[in-house]
Amino acid sequence: DTAVSQTPKYLVTQMGNDKSIKCEQNLGHDTMYWYKQDSKKFLKIMFSYNNKELIINETVPNRFSPKSPDKAHLNLHINSLELGDSAVYFCASSQAGNSPLHFGNGTRLTVT
């Protein structure tokens, strides 16, 4: 059973389009995250939700909007895609507090 699953695995789209990435976790964790990994492998937190409530919102363009319909799901919607949005986006989950993050296998987004 996959603990943190995200879809799609690959996403190729043109500039200006709107796209969504879905994430689900079956670990019963309260907290979910979106991280962005760029071409140099830098991992940067974007958002964090605890029990459907937004608790971390880093300096991310308004074009990125997370949505958590329930505590097992955290989706990421991106409007008006730009070339610089090309990256691998990772969803993760954890129990509250300083506990291990469990990552999905990433969604490689390519904007052409």
């Binding site: 492998k41 991992l43 993050l101 990552f103 999905g104």
Partner: protein, 109 residues
């Protein structure tokens, strides 16, 4: 203050050798220091973690050394194996996890 500096950027080690990756931080509020291992096409996975009340933690071939006064911590991989070839990230957390810049480790037979 929120940065975690990691070195080296890449590391080549022969099978059986010791791999050492170093990290440094500034924020004294950090109270949890994990290391993550990432294979190509996969998400990072927790390898080992330490809290600042201990100076060393060992799990199998992997050891974290922690120096609170110097605000530094390091990962030692003993008897490095080709299967250890991956990218390693140190991280630090108070209320959110901040990752280092990553070290690509290659272990040659």
């Amino acid at each position: 203050q929120q940065q975690v500096k990691q070195s080296p950027q890449s590391l080549i080690v022969q099978k059986g050798g010791i791999s050492i990756i170093n990290c440094a931080y500034e924020n004294t509020a950090f109270d949890y220091f994990p290391w993550y291992q990432q294979f190509p096409g996969k998400g990072p996975a927790l390898l080992i973690a330490i809290r600042p009340d201990v100076s060393e933690k060992k799990e199998g071939r992997f050891t974290i050394s922690f120096n609170k006064s110097a605000k530094q911590f390091s990962l030692h991989i003993m008897d490095s194996q080709p299967g250890d070839s991956a990218t390693y990230f140190c991280a630090a957390s108070s209320n959110k996890l901040i990752f280092g810049t990553g070290t690509r480790l290659q272990v040659f037979p």
